[in-house]
Amino acid sequence: MYQDVILDHYKNPHGRGLREGDAEVHHVNPTCGDEITLRVRYEGERIADVSYEGQGCSISQASASVLNDLLVGRELKDALAVQETFLTLMQSKGRLTPDDAMEETLEDAVAFAGVSKYPARVKCALLSWMAWKDATAQALGETALEEKL
């Protein structure tokens, strides 16, 4: 479960710190107290920045770092596709072996495959991704988000 990639992101998170944004959300994982404050900034439908502050376990914090790597600079439509793929992997209960296409889409996030075997930890891995989706809905409106799905 604790792949080196995850520990690296945990110890040296990418893009951490709150910067200017169009919307801010605060999400918590009540079972363990993981918390994240996340802001998104859009230029049109391109993600200009995802900034965050949080406290929590290595899985939740590393996942936010990976999210920042994967999503900043992408068009919303592509970002949602990445998010859906990550969600599929995390809901696989450890039964899914990522294929080449999935590895290409998810890059470092593939390292979380092992986390999907631990039901109590899946929420940790998804915390920042749910926060991002929520912040995006607030920044661009629910309908903009739904149109892209």
């Binding site: 604790y2 520990l7 363990c32 107290g33 993981d34 918390e35 406290q55 929590g56 376990c57 914090q61």
Partner: protein, 428 residues
């Protein structure tokens, strides 16, 4: 076997330990292995205890030989199940030294017991009624189950909710007790032993002040009943609640003890079968306590299991169990102090404290601590332990908690310490 100066199961020669080698034989689950053959080291007893074979057998035998609904029907099984269910009430009453068996109400768990008391008081007539002119007092160390029911009551009645804060060393701050508990206070509800800090609270001081102002006292003994002698008469409280599954009993059974005259005076909360005397389409009259508060088919098998648990604990002796846990806790506090970056949240000595130890380990998140310990077969609890205000008070997001019971051993404490060293290396 060791020689006569040292009981078996005390490899460290700590005085006061029980013969855990013999006790552990009663608990089948303690012999299973996890994660590829590692022995299970179960240190999550504050969340729930394991069950001895005697309890499992009692529940099984009840279902195999005696099951029927209670208090109705005239057939042999109904009589047997009723005798077993009511027999469990006798056992529990004796276990807590209740003056009368009719003061023992069976519920689903301690949360339900607390909600029941809060609702009795919310619907009561004077002089018990909680309303907008009155105050309810709790403490900052309470489990959510002793916070939320009172918040709900306060919101619905307009009563003011007040609480005792905590000192830096993990104890109740009673320095302004006369300002917190006042003439307006209707009820004071607090835990006897903290499920996070391990603190044993000074009941006498709080009861004395509550009685001065005529307030009712509710004691949440969920973390006390399993671990030490509990005497509701010497506590001086009006209500005492606890749950079965933390004291070797099944899940789904809890207890509310209340003083008889209060149970007689206060109104029922849940209505239904078994709690009535007569029913017409216009109105009903109610059965006397405890049945007035036990609407519907009760948790019969679970009560029988709790009766067996009480027999089991009494057979070993609650004084002996308390002594065992005290010795083990003192040993654990000493060993944990050797782990660099480990900060104990709660009293750091064994004085007035139970066998629950919460701590943080540097900046390593408790979830990560718990996960890596689990890989080594060590089960601890991580998170805020349903007492989030405690974490807020001490400025931490969560803790790792190790909690012991009558079957816990010094060797398990050693394994925990070794496990924590491994965790530090892993995330260091």
């Amino acid at each position: 076997m060791t020689d006569g100066t040292q009981a078996p199961g005390t490899p460290h020669g700590l005085p006061g330990l029980l013969d855990t080698e013999a006790i552990r034989k009663d608990f089948p689950i303690l012999h299973r292995t996890v994660h590829g053959g590692k022995p299970l080291i179960y240190l999550d007893n504050a969340a729930s205890s394991q069950k001895p074979r005697q309890v499992l057998d009692a529940v099984n035998e009840y279902y195999e030989r005696h099951h029927a609904n209670v208090h109705r029907g005239v057939h042999i099984l109904a009589e047997e199940s009723t005798a077993l269910y009511e027999g469990a009430r006798d056992k529990v009453a004796a276990f807590i030294n209740a003056p009368s068996r009719d003061e023992v109400v069976f519920t689903k768990n301690a949360s339900e017991s607390l909600n029941l008391v809060a609702n009795m008081l919310g619907w009561a007539d004077d002089p018990y009624r909680v309303d907008s002119r009155t105050e309810v007092v709790i403490t900052e160390m309470e489990h959510h189950s002793n916070i939320v029911p009172w918040q709900l009551l306060a919101q619905r009645t307009g009563a003011t909710l007040k609480w005792f804060g905590l000192t830096d060393d993990g104890r109740l701050d009673l320095s302004r007790i006369d300002e917190v508990i006042t003439e307006r206070t209707k009820v004071v509800s607090f835990m006897l032993v903290s499920n996070v800090l391990g603190t044993v609270n000074p009941v006498d001081e709080i009861v004395r002040r509550a009685q001065e102002v005529g307030a009712l006292v509710v004691v949440d003994a969920s973390q006390a009943a399993p671990h030490m002698p509990l005497d509701v008469q010497s506590l001086g409280a009006d209500f005492v609640v606890f749950t079965g599954h933390k004291m070797c009993g099944p899940t789904g059974i809890g207890v509310l003890w209340g003083r008889q005259e209060l149970l007689e005076d206060l109104p029922p909360f849940l209505g239904g079968g078994e709690m009535i005397e007569t029913v017409t389409m216009h109105a009903s009259t109610y059965a006397p306590a405890p049945h007035k508060f036990e609407a519907g088919t009760p948790p019969i098998a679970q009560a029988v299991g709790l009766g067996a648990a009480v027999d089991y604990l009494s057979g070993i002796g609650m004084e002996r169990i308390a002594e065992h846990e005290h010795a083990l806790t003192a040993y654990a506090l000493g060993r944990l102090a050797e782990v660099p970056d480990l900060r104990i949240i709660g009293p750091v000595t064994g004085e007035d404290r139970g066998a629950t130890i919460s701590f943080t380990l540097g900046d390593i998140h408790p979830h990560d601590v718990g996960q890596v310990l689990d890989e080594q077969g060590i089960a601890v609890r991580v998170g805020h332990h349903c007492a989030r205000p405690v974490c807020l008070r001490y400025g931490i997001p969560a803790t790792t908690r190790a909690s012991f019971y009558l079957y816990s051993t010094p060797a398990e404490v050693d394994a925990l310490v070794a496990g924590l060293e491994y965790v530090r290396g892993f995330f260091g």
